[in-house]
Symmetry: C2
Subunit: 886 residues, 2 copies
C-alpha cells in the first residue's frame, strides 16, 4: 500500500524538511516545525504523488487515499478533542496547497472548512462569540464558493457592500452577528444561483471538494504561466495540507501575522514583520487592512502610529521571537513565517525560506558566514546570480531635482523611469514596442504577472511590504513602491492623481524603490556603488571559480565598466561596430558600393581602428583582448531608406540608380547564412589585412607607451572549414610580420576562430591544428544547429516554449542537448588536437547562469558577457565550480 | 638516390601501365607498349614526383635529375644510333606532358627538339629532303617559341601568311625548302623581338626549356580550370615524356593518325580512325586538314571521297590492325591510339583508354562482357553514371519539320536547341541568366572550355571527329556537330551563314549531334528510347546494388517517367507544390492572409490534394510513397509584385493595404531558418491535419479501387526536437484513426521525419523513438551545417571551390566531412534506438554518384532523386556496392 498521507502534530511528525518534493514546501516545513517541538496545529499532508497520480489517471484519486485521509482526520480529532461535523464540538480545518517551491498567490486556500448550519452552533458555544462564528461561516462560504465552486468573489463582496449600505455601516467590523447570519443566508442563495447547486453541508464532501480544488488549481492558466516563467516542471505537482483551524479573529487577544527573521529588503538582522489584531491570515497578505509592525524598531522605522506587537502582546511576542531564533539556527537561512495567536496562544502556520532582495540576500549570506552559520560556499550558493542585476543598475542621483508627487512603501529597491500604464496587458504591449513602462495598479494580483515582468517598475496604492506586488517585485528584482495611499488611480480615466497633480497614461514617472518616492518626469540616475558585502562575496566567488570572466566590449566606456565589475579581459570585440560611427559610415559605404577609392578608405579606416584599439588596449592593460575581424553581411552597413540612399549618392557623387543597383546585388535571401564572416576575408582580403594591421599597430603603440601590452587574440569568424582559417591565418601572420618589420618591434598575439557553425564543431580537430583558441559563438551556433533564425522565431518560439518543445528560449539559455553537444564535441576534438587550446564562449549565453554551468561542466577556460553581466558570470562560475567539485 | 627517370625502348621498359600515378597515363602506356613488343620510338619519362618536388621546392628541380636525364638521353642515342646535337646524325626528340589522367589539349607539346642551324644539315642529309628538314625546323621554332618562350602563335602564322601572299602561294604545301629557310630566319627574328632573347641553339638547353614548359603548363589557368571541372587534385602533377622523333611528314610513304579500337560514338566493334599522309601528328588533332578514314568501312560510312589507309597502305594498315587487337586484348578496354608511319614503318606513339559517348560506353561494356573480356561488375564500373544523362535526354522528333541550314560531322550525339552565341564568354554569361545557348565556333580550343560547359550544344565549322570540339563534347555528353564546312562564321558580325540564310547571335537553332544536322529554329524533340544494352546493363546493376532507388516527384508525369526509369517508389513528394496550381493559389493565399473562410479553403484543398495523391498512388501501385507535409515559409505562396497584390486583393475582396500589412508581417529576415516546416504544423495544426486526411483518404480510395495500396510514409519536415515530432505524430495518428473510423477500412502507413537540421542528427536517438523512418534532407542539412545559404553562396562559393576550400560545390556533392559526419551520427544513433528504422536520402545529393557512394558506405536503405537521375542512381548504387564488397 502506497503511503499517500503524512501526519504532523505535537506527538508525531511523519515528514521532514527535506521531503519537500513529496510534501511540498509548506507541508515539509510544517512537519519539520512539529518535530522541532514548535506549536503547529495538528494536520496532515496529502503528497505531491497524489497530484501526479490524479492527472495521470484522468483526474481520479488512488483508491486507498480516502481511507488514509479518514485515518488522519481521526488523528486531528483526537488531538483537538473535536469532531469533524460534530455539532457540539466541531473540528474546523484549513485546506491549502503546497508545491515543492513557493508559488506566492498562485494556489487557492480554504479556511474554516467543516462549518454548516449545524456545526455553527458548536462554534458559537465553543468560542462564546456568535458574531465571530457567523463571520467565520460567511468567510468559509465566500472562499469555498469562489475557489471550489467557481462563484465570482465579487458577488459575495457585493452582498456585504449592499448590506452595509442598507444598514448604513462603514466597515465590516460594524456588522454584527445577526448581520453576518443574514449575509450567510444570502451567500448560500448566491451559490445556488451561480453554481447551480446548494452549498455542500457535509464536512467530508466539503473536504474533498477543497482537495480537488487544490489539485485543480495546479493546472489553471496563471499557475501554468508562473511555472513557465520560473522553470518549474509541470510534473512536480502540488501537495495538499489539511490542518486544524486556529483563529486570529476570535477577539482582541487574537492576532495573525507574517514575518521575516531578517529584513528581506536590506538583509539587516532584526525581526521584521507585520501583524493584525483580531484578523485572519488572509487579511494581512491580501493588503486590504494596513498591518502593524511586529517590533518597536520596525514601527519607528516606518514612522507608524500603530502600536507594535512587541508592545501590545509582549509575552506572545517574546515566544515568537524565540521561535524566530530557533528557526534560523535550525534552517540556517532567513525564514518567512506565518503565525496566528488564538486567545493569547501562539501557533506557527508556516515557515519557508524567505524571498529577499539581492541586497538582502548578499547581506544575509555574508552575515551568516560571519555568524558561523554557513560556509563561504553556502553563501555563494545562496545568491541567485541573476538577482545581482538589481544591485548593478543605476540609482537616482541624490542631487537631481525630484518632483515628488507621492510616497509609498519602499517595497523593492532600485530606481526606474518610464511611461505610466495602468494595465498589465498595456504594459506588456508597450514593452514589446521597446518602450519602458511603469505599471501602476491599485493592487496587483497573479493575473498581473506578465505586466509586472514587462515593466521597469511597479506602483501600488494599496497593500504593505508583504503584499503581492511587493513580494513578486522583490523576487523579480524590479523596483516597486507599494501602498502609496496618497495617490488614487482611476482605471477608467487612465489617471493617477494626488488630488493636485494628475498624470495620465504615457506620462513619464520615476520611482525610487529604496525610498518609496514617486516622481513626475525622469530623474537623473547614477551608476550603482557596490557594497562591501558585494565585494566580499565576489572575492569569495573569485577564489572558488575556475573559469575566467571576460566581457564583450568595443567602446572604452563599456570596457571600463566591465573592468570595474571585475572583467579579466575582452572576450569579444566586434570590430564592425567601429564602422557604424556617423563620421565613418559614409566611407565604409563608398568602399562597399565601390564608388570611393578603396585604398584611401582603407587607410582612413586603418587610422580610426588603430585609435579605437589603442584606447581599448590601454584600459585592458596586460589582459587578453579577443578582436573579431569583420563579420556581418556587407549590406548591413548600407543605406536602406530612400533618404539615406539619396544622401549617400549625393555625398559620394554617384547616381542613385547606380547605388540601388549595387544594393540589390548585395541583398541576400538569408543574410545570416550568406556572404559574411570569414567569407568576407577570403573574398576581400584587403579589409581583413587593414584590421589586422590596426590591431597590431595599436598593440605596439600601447606597449611602447605603457609597457603593458595586451595579448591580442585575433579571431576569424564563421569558419566552417579549416582551409578558410589556414588562408586567413597566413594573411594575419604576414600582415603582422610586415608591421613588426616596419616598427622593428613586436608583440605576442594569437590567431583563433569562432566556433559558431556545426561544421566547425564537427571538424574541430582539423581546425584546432590552425587555431590557437576557440571562442564558441553560441548565438549563431544555436541558429544553425536548430535551423532557427532569432529574428524570425517570434512567430513560433513563444508557442514552442509554451508547449515545452524547448523548455527555455534557446537563445537565452543554451540548448544543452543540441548546441551543447556540438560544443562538447568541439571541446574534445579541439583539446585532442591541441592540448593547450584556449576555450571560451562569447555568445549571449556567456552571461546566463545555467549556460555558465554548462561551460564549467565541459571545461571551458572562460566565459565572456556584456559588462553588466560580469558579476553575474563571476558568481555563476563560482557556483558551477562548487557544484562540479561536490 | 631517388629514381626520377624511367626508360622505355625495344630493349627495356622500366615502367608499366599500372604506374600511371608516377609516369602519367602517356608514359605508363608507352612503357607498357614497349614491354608488349610494340614498335615504340625509344624514350624516357620524367616522373610526376619531379613535378610535385618542383613546385614544393620553389620551382627548382631535384639535384640528381640532370644526371639521370643525361643517362637516358644517352640510351636513346645508342638505340637510335644518333647524337643529341650531332651535326651529321642528329637525334631529334619530342617532349610531351602526360598526367595521371588524360587532359586533352591542356598540355603543350614540342616536336623536333634538337634542331639548330648546325644539326639541320644532318637532318637534310639523313632524310634526303631539304624542304622537309626546313619545314621541321620552322615547326620546332614555332612550337617552342609559342610554348616555351611565350611568343604569340599567330605571329608565326602571320609570317607564313605574308610569305604566301608575297609569293602568291595558296597552301603551306606549296612553300619550298628555300621558303621555309627564309621563314626560319624570320621566325628567329620574331622570337628575338617578342621574347627579348635569341632562340636557344644548344639542344640540352632546348630540352630543359621544354621540360620546364611542361611543368609550367601544369599551373596555367586553363589547366587549373580543367582540373577543377574534372576533380583532379592539384598535387597529382604531370610527367614529361621525351622520345625520339619519328616523322609522318617525310614523304608520301609517311603518315600519321589517331584511331579508336572501336567506334567511340556508337561503340560498334570496328576500327575507327583518321589519318593524314605526309603529316605530323598535330595536323590531325588540330583539325586543320580534314583527315581521311582508316578503313574502307569508315570511308563508306562518312561518304568520303578520300581513300582510306586500308586502301593506300594495306600492309602497314594490317600491322596497325594487329596492334589494335593486341591492345584491346591486353588492356581489355577500347583504346585511343596515336601512330606515325615513317617511310612505311609503323610507330606507336600513344595508347590510352578511349573517351566515348555514353551510348558507346554502354555498348562496349556489354559487348566485352559477351566477348568474355570483362565481368559484369567490370562492365558496370566502366560506365560513368553521370554520362547516362545523355542517353536519357530527348532526341529530335523524326516527324518534326527540320529547317536544315547546314550539316557537319555527328561528333557527339543528342539533340539541343538554344540561342546562338559565338564566344565562350557570352555562352557562359547567357547560361548564367538561365538561357539555353548553342555555342558556334570556327574551331574550339581549351580556352573555350567554360563556354562549352555552359552550352546546350556545340557547332564547329572546321575539324574532324577527333577535333578538340568533338572530343571534349563527347566527354561532357554535350551534343556537337563538328566541321560543318558549308557554314561560315563571322565573329565580328556575329553571324553564321550558309550563303543564303544568315543567322545572328540570339537566333534559335537546333542541332542533332547524332546526324550532324543544324536547323534553324526549335525542332520538337522526343523522349529517349533506351537501348537493349541499357536495359541489360541496368539489370546487372539492379542485381548487384543493395540500396533501393526512389524518385522525388509530385506530378503524375514525373512519377510515370521515374517508374519507366526504374524508380522503386517515391522518396519525396513535396505537397506544397500542389498548392501552386493557378486555380488553387488564390485560395491558399486567402487562407494565409486570413481573408478567406479557413474551413472552406481547407476543405477545397483537401479535395484537390486527395485527387493528387490518388493519381500518384495509382502510378506507384504497391510501392512506398513518402509524402512530406507543408514545408516552405508561408510567404512563398504569397503575391509579391504590385500587380499580383492588386489582383489578389480584388479577388479576395479586401483592401490592398490590409494585404500589404499581412505580407510585411509574414516577411522574414532569414526565411530558411524561419517559420516553416513542422513549425507550421505546430502553429497551424489544421493544415497538417487536412494534408494527412488527404493522404489517408487517397490511399484508402486506391486500395478499394485497385487492391494495390501504397504504403504512405508521412514525413514531418524540419524537426529539430523530438517533441515536435511527438506532437505531430499524435496529430497524424489521430487524423488517420478518424478517417479509418469514418470509412470503416484502413491502410498501413508510417510516420517519420526529415533529418535536415544538425540538432535532429545530433538527437537522432531521441527522434528515432518516435520516427519510423528518417529521410536525410541534405540540402538543408548542408545549409545549416555549413551556415551557407544556397541562394546566396554565389558571391563566394565559386572562389571557395577555386581556392579548394571546398573541393566541390557542397550542394552538388555531399560534404562528407561535415554533413556526412552528421548523417553518420544520425544513422548510428537512429539504428541504436530503433533497429529497423528505414533510412533514405531525398536531398539533391541523392542523384550524385559520389554522394550515393557515401550513402552506401553509411548503410542507407535507399536514395531518392529526380526522375531523370534514377538510372544514374541505380548504376551509381551498383558501383558503390561493388566497391563496398571489394
Amino acid at each position: 500500500m502506497t503511503k499517500w498521507v503524512y501526519n504532523f502534530n505535537a506527538n508525531e511528525s511523519e515528514g521532514k524538511a527535506d521531503m519537500r518534493n513529496l510534501l511540498g514546501g509548506k507541508g515539509a516545513n510544517l512537519a519539520e516545525m512539529a518535530s522541532m517541538g514548535l506549536p503547529v496545529p495538528a494536520g496532515f499532508t496529502i503528497s505531491t504523488e497524489v497530484c501526479t497520480a490524479y492527472y495521470e489517471n484522468g483526474e481520479k484519486y488512488p483508491k486507498d487515499l480516502e481511507e488514509q485521509v479518514n485515518n488522519s482526520i481521526r488523528k486531528i480529532e483526537e488531538i483537538m478533542g473535536a469532531g469533524f461535523g460534530n455539532v457540539s464540538n466541531p473540528l474546523l480545518v484549513s485546506v491549502r496547497s503546497g508545491a515543492r517551491v513557493s508559488m506566492p498567490g498562485m494556489m487557492d486556500t480554504v479556511l474554516n472548512l467543516g462549518l454548516n448550519d449545524d456545526t455553527i452552533k458548536g462554534l458559537i458555544t465553543k468560542s462564546g462569540d456568535e458574531r465571530f462564528a457567523w463571520d467565520s461561516y460567511r468567510r468559509f462560504i465566500q472562499m469555498y464558493g469562489d475557489v471550489v465552486m467557481g462563484v465570482d468573489y465579487h458577488s459575495f463582496e457585493d452582498v456585504i457592500d449592499s448590506y452595509k449600505r442598507r444598514e448604513d455601516l462603514k466597515n465590516d467590523t460594524e456588522i454584527d452577528a445577526a448581520g453576518w447570519k443574514d449575509i450567510v443566508s444570502e451567500f448560500k442563495q448566491i451559490v445556488r444561483d451561480e453554481a447551480g447547486k446548494d452549498f455542500p453541508t457535509e464536512p467530508k464532501e466539503q473536504l474533498w471538494g477543497a482537495i480537488s480544488a487544490v489539485f485543480g488549481s495546479w493546472n489553471i492558466p496563471r499557475a501554468v504561466t508562473y511555472r513557465k516563467i520560473h522553470d518549474i516542471p509541470d510534473d512536480w505537482g502540488t501537495a495538499v495540507n489539511v490542518q486544524a483551524m486556529v483563529f486570529g479573529n476570535m477577539g482582541e487577544d487574537c492576532a495573525t501575522g507574517v514575518a521575516f527573521t531578517r529584513d528581506p529588503s536590506t538583509g539587516e538582522n532584526y525581526f521584521y514583520g507585520e501583524y493584525l489584531v483580531n484578523a485572519q491570515g488572509e487579511d494581512v497578505v491580501a493588503g486590504i487592512r494596513t498591518p502593524q509592525s511586529l517590533t518597536i524598531k520596525g514601527r519607528e522605522m516606518e514612522s507608524s502610529d500603530l502600536p507594535s506587537m512587541e508592545e501590545v502582546m509582549p509575552e506572545v511576542f517574546s515566544q515568537l521571537n524565540d521561535v524566530r531564533l530557533k528557526l534560523e539556527k535550525h534552517y540556517k537561512d532567513m525564514q518567512d513565517i506565518e503565525f496566528t495567536v488564538q486567545q493569547s496562544k501562539l501557533y506557527m502556520l508556516q515557515t519557508r525560506t524567505g524571498k529577499r532582495t539581492a541586497a538582502a540576500a548578499l547581506k544575509i549570506a555574508v552575515d551568516m558566514v560571519e555568524e558561523g552559520l554557513i560556509t563561504k560556499e553556502e553563501a555563494i550558493n545562496r545568491i541567485d546570480p541573476m538577482a545581482l542585476d538589481q544591485l548593478l543598475h543605476p540609482r537616482l542621483d541624490p542631487n537631481a531635482k525630484r518632483d515628488v508627487i507621492g510616497k509609498g512603501l519602499p517595497a523593492s529597491p532600485g530606481a526606474a523611469s518610464g511611461k505610466l500604464v495602468f494595465s498589465a496587458d498595456k504594459a506588456e504591449a508597450m514593452a514589446k514596442d521597446g518602450k519602458k513602462v511603469i505599471l501602476a495598479r491599485i493592487e496587483t494580483s497573479p493575473e498581473d504577472i506578465h505586466g509586472m515582468h514587462a515593466a521597469e517598475g511597479i506602483i501600488t496604492t494599496r497593500g504593505g511590504m508583504t503584499s503581492h506586488a511587493a513580494v513578486v517585485a522583490r523576487g523579480m528584482g524590479c523596483p516597486c513602491v507599494a501602498g502609496a495611499g496618497s495617490l488614487s488611480i482611476d482605471y477608467k480615466a487612465g489617471t493617477i492623481s494626488n488630488g493636485t497633480i494628475t498624470l495620465k497614461e504615457g506620462d513619464i514617472v520615476t520611482i525610487d524603490g529604496s525610498t518609496g518616492e514617486i516622481m513626475k518626469g525622469e530623474v537623473d540616475s547614477l551608476q550603482p556603488e557596490l557594497s562591501g558585502d558585494f565585494e566580499l562575496l565576489m572575492s569569495w566567488a573569485d577564489e572558488i571559480r575556475r573559469m575566467k570572466v571576460r566581457t564583450n566590449a568595443e567602446t572604452p566606456n563599456d570596457a571600463a565598466t566591465a573592468i570595474k565589475f571585475g572583467a579579466e579581459g575582452i572576450g569579444l570585440c566586434r570590430t564592425e561596430h567601429m564602422f557604424f560611427d556617423a563620421s565613418r559610415i559614409q566611407k565604409v559605404r563608398e568602399m562597399i558600393i565601390g564608388t570611393g577609392n578603396r585604398d584611401e578608405v582603407l587607410s582612413y579606416l586603418l587610422n580610426k581602428q588603430r585609435g579605437d584599439f589603442s584606447s581599448l588596449f590601454k584600459i585592458m592593460a596586460g589582459l587578453p583582448v579577443t578582436v573579431r575581424l569583420l563579420d556581418p553581411p556587407l549590406h548591413e552597413f548600407l543605406p536602406h531608406s530612400q533618404d539615406d540612399i539619396k544622401n549617400f549618392a549625393k555625398e559620394a557623387g554617384v547616381e542613385i540608380d547606380e547605388v540601388k543597383k549595387r544594393l540589390s546585388e548585395l541583398a541576400e535571401s538569408n543574410p545570416m547564412l550568406g556572404h559574411r564572416g570569414c567569407r568576407l576575408g577570403i573574398t576581400f582580403p584587403d579589409i581583413y589585412a587593414m584590421q589586422v594591421r590596426a590591431v597590431i599597430e595599436a598593440a605596439l603603440e600601447v606597449k611602447m607607451e605603457t609597457g603593458e601590452a595586451v595579448v591580442p587574440e585575433i579571431m576569424i569568424p564563421l569558419v566552417s572549414n579549416v582551409k578558410e582559417l589556414s588562408i586567413l591565418k597566413k594573411l594575419v601572420d604576414e600582415e603582422a610580420e610586415k608591421v613588426f618589420a616596419e616598427k622593428d618591434n613586436m608583440v605576442e598575439y594569437m590567431v583563433g576562430t569562432m566556433i559558431e557553425l556545426p561544421r566547425a564543431a564537427l571538424t574541430a580537430d582539423e581546425i584546432a591544428k590552425e587555431a590557437e583558441f576557440f571562442s564558441f559563438g553560441t548565438n549563431d551556433l544555436t541558429q544553425t544547429c536548430l535551423g532557427m533564425s532569432r529574428d524570425d522565431a517570434g512567430n513560433f518560439l513563444p508557442e514552442y516554449v509554451e508547449k515545452s518543445i524547448y523548455e527555455k528560449d534557446p537563445f537565452v539559455s543554451i540548448d544543452v542537448k543540441g548546441v551543447g553537444q556540438l560544443v562538447d564535441i568541439a571541446v574534445n576534438k579541439g583539446r585532442n588536437a591541441r592540448v593547450d587550446i584556449k576555450l571560451g564562449i562569447c555568445g549571449e549565453h556567456g552571461g546566463d547562469p545555467a549556460s555558465i554551468t554548462f561551460c564549467e561542466n565541459v571545461g571551458l577556460d572562460y566565459v565572456s558577457c556584456s559588462p553588466y553581466r560580469v558579476p553575474i558570470a563571476r558568481l555563476a562560475a563560482a557556483q558551477s565550480a562548487i557544484r562540479q567539485n561536490f
